[in-house]
Symmetry: C2
Subunit: 215 residues, 2 copies
DNA sequence: GAAATAAGAAACTAATAGTACCTTATTCAC
DNA sequence: GTGAATAAGGTACTATTAGTTTCTTATTTC
């Protein structure tokens, strides 16, 4: 695979398996940037965060390291930008089925999906490289607690709806309980390295969350 | 600091700030191994997991890379061995104060302490490098769920004691609830990068765990 | 005391990060 | 349209670190 990359690099035309079709014009600005991020996204799914290199991304985007470094100073920043652009967003609208349990299940499935798409390896890689949480916090889908994420707002909305129906009493719910289900999802992703099963989501809702909030 | 290290390396005698006093005899076996692990432990607390290098450890132990590599094939394995030897163990005996809440607080403080000593950076570094959980699972203090850890056993013991006193009913407690407090501690360490406050431990016990188990 | 073992020492390859420099295509201002 | 500014292409370079290899020599073992 290394040999192939080098071949691609030195060759002017000719379509490889992982690269764009031959080009004549010189890309720049937004177009080039998109090509690089696309290449990074592909590379991420091909080789994973650990084995992703700037050089590899550059070659795949049919450009060179210097161009990438001009935009993103290191791997972590490049990957964050890539995730910001390509990671699927959780569903925009908050579930409202008239039943807290259903709403919770739907919400958590929606939150779990992007987390799984990124995968534990990438999250851990980013966390290990970027202890200054700011950067990783800029990816809404895998955001840290502390700030008010869309997910947290959705949780609160669902709970308020449930309160109106008399399903729960909110006055004694502190922030830790609100974020508990999402925290457990994140923990599950980080630790198990396996897809979050629907069974896990059910357990979080039925065995942990509902018993707490339903007084 | 780099210059200093190189000086230490080339110098035959003379005590640096971070190295053993001058030696005459050639160490080997257990003694040398201990010296290397000690050096790795010191290096870990000095420069952190990310910036720890095999070379750095070797120099600090007044030996050389090859000797280290003969024993541990890479950084992760060396650090795991170091933690196995030097990381403080949680208290051996299970609290039994006659009160579930007290027991829980004591137990969780004991579990949190070694986790904090390792620190998020090291745990994340190990997790990022060692996706084959087996290795990290071999450090009891930061062990993953799935296997029956000493902490889990302690939790169960405490709960059984509480059941005998009539404080809780155990029949409807699944494993996820048992491991919940410890999972939350681990999550907290990984995410916040800050020492676990006693307030956090109180919240885990009072706002989350007790409401679930006390029917 | 000889043979086996493992440490000490240093040199070496390979991968990657990140930088520097120069050439050339493209854009933009006039 | 022309010329200056900008940014991409391309390449070579330094520095760091991982991990290996090889040889010498101290120490243990039998």
């Amino acid at each position: 695979m290394d040999e192939q990359k080098i071949k691609e690099q030195s060759r002017v035309g000719g379509a490889g398996s992982k690269v764009d079709p031959p080009r004549e014009t010189r890309r720049r600005g937004e177009i080039l940037e998109t090509a690089i991020l696309q290449a990074a996204w592909d590379e991420l799914s091909d080789v994973g965060y650990t084995h992703l290199t700037i050089e590899g991304v550059a070659v795949r985007a049919r450009t060179n390291k210097a161009v990438v470094y001009r935009r993103w100073g290191n791997k972590a920043k490049l990957v964050v930008a890539t995730l910001q652009r390509y990671l699927p967003k959780p569903p925009r609208d908050v579930p409202d089925t008239g039943n807290l349990r259903n709403d919770m299940l739907i919400l958590l499935r929606g939150i779990a999906q992007p987390l799984q798409t990124v995968g534990a390896e990438t999250i851990q890689g980013l966390m290990a490289e970027y202890l200054s949480k700011d950067l990783i916090a800029s990816i809404p889908q895998i955001m840290h607690p502390g700030t008010e994420s869309k997910s947290t707002i959705a949780m609160k909305t669902i709970l308020k709806q449930a309160e109106l129906r008399g399903e729960v009493h909110l006055e004694n719910l502190n922030p830790r309980i609100i974020s508990l289900p999402i925290d457990l999802l994140r923990y599950e992703i980080l630790i198990t390295h396996e897809p979050i099963s629907d069974r896990t989501i059910h357990e979080i809702v039925d065995d942990i969350f509902l018993p707490i909030v339903q007084v």
